[in-house]
Symmetry: D2
Subunit: 141 residues, 4 copies
Amino acid sequence: MARSITMQQRIEFGDCDPAGIVWFPNYHRWLDAASRNYFIKCGLPPWRQTVVERGIVGTPIVSCNASFVCTASYDDVLTIETCIKEWRRKSFVQRHSVSRTTPGGDVQLVMRADEIRVFAMNDGERLRAIEVPADYIELCS
Amino acid sequence: MARSITMQQRIEFGDCDPAGIVWFPNYHRWLDAASRNYFIKCGLPPWRQTVVERGIVGTPIVSCNASFVCTASYDDVLTIETCIKEWRRKSFVQRHSVSRTTPGGDVQLVMRADEIRVFAMNDGERLRAIEVPADYIELCS
Amino acid sequence: MARSITMQQRIEFGDCDPAGIVWFPNYHRWLDAASRNYFIKCGLPPWRQTVVERGIVGTPIVSCNASFVCTASYDDVLTIETCIKEWRRKSFVQRHSVSRTTPGGDVQLVMRADEIRVFAMNDGERLRAIEVPADYIELCS
Amino acid sequence: MARSITMQQRIEFGDCDPAGIVWFPNYHRWLDAASRNYFIKCGLPPWRQTVVERGIVGTPIVSCNASFVCTASYDDVLTIETCIKEWRRKSFVQRHSVSRTTPGGDVQLVMRADEIRVFAMNDGERLRAIEVPADYIELCS
């Protein structure tokens, strides 16, 4: 069973566009926070520590497949549920489900996304994907 | 043949993260600018005018499928090439290819994305997808 | 005695720049959230309601005087304390103090700012400052 | 006579808020780009090079005094004129004037700001202001 971690994100006025709804790049901002929050909650240290200890600078994104289901606006509080759907040798699939609770108490799916990410080292000039560290998989189980 | 529109986007220091590369949500910011730029260049009026004349508030995103191929950093100038890959009855697929030219003169693909979007009206409480206006398809041909 | 409202803001990886510290425009993002949070907590309705009921679209900024005292980085949790320093006839001075608690338990001032803002109506083409509504001053006392 | 450098910044839909005007933190984003653009145009190398050669990570902001004169919206093209108003021993005052040209051809001041910044080195744990390098002052004359 994949471990699931949840965080909440309040939508601000400035997160919304002239149509009055969340300007969608902000969702990717929040997914990135949720991605890192997942690892922090599982016990991985912050990247500023892993870069010193193991050369790992973070988990850059390789691809993203996102669906936007319904709109949200400021004062909505989003719930972002994150899990690792699949570990591969040099990458992993992180799944996020973003929902809001309506004033009436219903839970609505707002958007969802599968992100493929890698653990990366700084190889002088460029970033290089490394094999997913076994101890990280262990921590996230 | 799909019409293709190109714009350039300079990367700023603040667009990059502590790993020194573009923080990826910024790509979605630039794709949104490229999406609207496409329609402006094809002759569609700005949304502030279409909302008054036809109730159309813009082209909210329905899904996005993005691949990140290589990293970029500040002072890189990105070229974003945008076209409509497919018109459907109530949506359309907009394709973006983002590249940079290396100091040596090579063109590198940085990322690409297919966005599905709709033309939307404000139906009182919520946004509603409308049939893609025939005159808009005409303008984009 | 000026009423003071406090909110917390977690700093994310993507809020930081290649120097590893908060990219300063993000502070203004958070101050704007704190400004609105102040009024919400005092009982003012969201702008989407005031625009319908009284034509008030929000509190655009007229000037800002900010000092940046020490740096902060991702995983720091900022405390933003906000009060109204002065009500004028058509504007008000909102003061924000942003601090962090060090691992050792000390409270450090990170930045502070005085913002002058107005309540604005949409006068057809442009925004126009109105007299500060007396009932809003009452709610904030 | 202070040297003045000009850049242009197009406003995008997503830079605007539900009131339809530029969400003001974005001005600080553009001022930061204008600040760095000033030094680049004067011949200073990018920070990724100065950090290696001289330990200089950039020009963090110490204070900002901004006035917002009139609103702007998407499709407006801003002109940002930047100069160094004053060199001090360990800091400098950078002045930005942001204007737009109306459809009728008038130039309107949109906002202006004086930023105090320092050249900073990374002193292990924290950033430390250094004396303004004499060769940088020379380049900017």
